[in-house]
Symmetry: C2
Subunit: 83 residues, 2 copies
């Protein structure tokens, strides 16, 4: 079966996010000072071939741990859906 | 009221995504050749102060159009929830 995973990789809360800080500052310049606390991370979509949803989830989890997220600075979460 | 928006900005389907292609290739090297069609975009979380959810949604939409997404190459979607 084929599954699609939607993964979010975000800088951990205790880590300073300079890109997010810069975007928060730019919001003021376009008249959107109501927008604050911007944090910028990665969104990754991928397809995975697996027998079951549990197996697909394990594969995606391994991909996150070994390749997609830097666990020292980033946390990740994902959702999986059958195609 | 304060709302939190979760925004995904992704390269459009018809646009080549070299970062995603590179990650797809790397999956093979870590023994996850079942993972294909990786696409890499941005995930942005932010807080927005607004009277209603509709108003918050309009502000976030404007932020996406004017600052967060390059509409020629990227598409975006977001969800809003009251804090």
């Amino acid at each position: 079966m084929k599954f699609i995973a939607q993964i979010d990789v975000m800088p951990k809360k205790e880590i300073l996010d300079p890109q997010g800080k810069a975007v928060t500052g730019s919001m003021k310049n376009i008249g959107l000072s109501e927008i604050t606390n911007v944090r910028v991370g990665k969104h990754i979509s991928l397809e995975v071939e697996a027998a079951t949803e549990v197996e697909a989830s394990e594969k995606v989890d391994r991909a996150c741990k070994q390749l997609l997220a830097n666990l020292i600075m980033e946390s990740y979460e994902f959702k999986i859906a059958a195609v």
